[in-house]
């Protein structure tokens, strides 16, 4: 190769490599980032000018048009309480002892960041649709087999499963201390193998 050709070649290779790395890095939730009660995490700055360029680009790809945290706080998890990745072959019990301090909340299930197709067209449960336990708390079962009124389908196609807990008009204490928000436990039940 002629010595002069190294410059343009390395420039193009570097630009392409950097762009590819950015595309790869923004295609999924960074499970290490954010704060919340394990395994849930919320990112400060979503939907606001305070977001970092990486966060902003990631949200654009997997949660575009998110609202700022004074309007909605988004807690997500892709793990159960033991740190294992959520798996469509397993069922999970989500148990909340009480409601987080917010006007309204919902729990949505996603495969590869899209709704999970199912015969009920059910993709979430919410504070206004959920059946309550006798103690005022709530229990949701996600995954197969279908269980109870608060069943949340996870489908049977493998993929990256994400649970998203949205708090609409949250109390200011939520983002001040996200670790203290009473979000449901995510307990793995039986698995089909």
């Amino acid at each position: 190769m002629k010595p002069w050709a190294w410059g343009p070649l390395l420039l193009l290779a570097g630009l392409a490599g950097g762009a590819a790395a950015a595309w790869f890095a923004t295609g999924q939730v960074d499970s290490r980032a954010g704060r919340g009660p394990f395994p849930w995490k919320a990112m400060a700055g979503n939907g606001s000018a305070a977001a970092t360029p990486l966060q902003r680009a990631t949200v654009a790809r997997i949660g575009i048009w998110a609202l700022p945290s004074q309007e909605v706080v988004y807690f997500n998890t892709e793990q159960d309480d033991q740190g294992r990745p959520l798996d469509v072959a397993c069922a999970y019990r989500l148990r909340g002892a009480r409601d987080p301090a917010a006007r309204w909340w919902s729990i949505g299930a996603y495969r590869d960041y899209q709704w999970i197709d199912n015969g009920l067209n059910r993709y979430s449960v919410s504070s206004s649709s959920i059946s309550r336990d006798a103690d005022g708390g709530f229990t949701v079962v996600a995954g197969v087999p279908a269980q109870g009124a608060n069943w949340l389908p996870l489908g049977d196609v493998a993929g990256r499963i994400t649970l998203l807990f949205r708090l609409y008009i949250p109390d200011p204490a939520v983002m001040a201390a996200p670790e203290r928000v009473p979000l449901p436990s995510v307990t793995r039940l039986e698995c089909r193998r």
């Binding site: 950097g18 360029p53 575009i64 919902s106 979430s124 008009i169």
Partner: protein, 186 residues
């Protein structure tokens, strides 16, 4: 320059251009993501500067990643190059668990959010969407200035229970007055 110097210079060029590629791509991804979604929405029948209908969507019809399935969304792809637009809509009161109207720039920056608790009950919300050089609205109209002609308007009327057909129908009826139109009329 000796051999060691040449290698160091080439390495510096490679690393520097990789950093530049990373920064440029992060900056462009929000615009690309918006354009890709606009293409998908257009292919599905949506039209620019038209407020879409309030329909209960299924997994097969939904185009937006990590969308809230409880929202009976009314949305519009915006293009202000021909002039300002005006959104008008009355929050549906207790028929919805939550309602807001929000406006996003082409690069997904949140430009405006107004929810139902921030306005007097039963009164319509009027929002003017314009570019900086376009005329300002009169008093009493929310003024949203977009940095470029393209953007997105999203109304989030939130269903209390998407499986309650009567409740959903009542909410749909309450959203019938929502409209997006050229302002002043062209």
């Amino acid at each position: 320059m000796n051999r060691g110097g040449r290698i160091a210079a080439r390495l510096a060029l490679l690393v520097g251009s990789a950093v530049a590629g990373w920064v440029i791509m992060l900056d462009r991804i929000p615009v690309l993501a918006t354009d890709m979604l606009f293409e998908a929405m257009t292919a599905a029948g949506a039209r620019t500067n038209r407020l879409g209908p309030a329909v209960v969507r299924s997994a097969r019809a939904n185009k937006v990643p990590m969308a809230n399935a409880d929202i009976l969304a009314r949305s519009a792809m915006l293009d202000l190059s021909a002039g300002p637009l005006r959104f008008t809509g009355t929050p549906p009161g207790d028929k919805a668990a939550y309602w807001s109207v929000s406006v996003f720039a082409h690069n997904t920056d949140t430009l405006f959010v107004l929810n139902d608790r921030q306005v007097p009950p039963g009164r319509p919300v009027v929002v003017q969407l314009r570019l900086a050089h376009q005329p300002q609205p009169e008093a009493g109209v929310w003024d949203v200035v977009l940095p470029s002609p393209r953007g997105f308007l999203l109304v989030r009327p939130t269903m209390k229970d998407r499986e309650d057909a009567a409740g959903v129908a009542a909410l749909q009826a309450a959203l019938a007055d929502h409209r997006l139109e050229a302002w002043p009329s062209r």
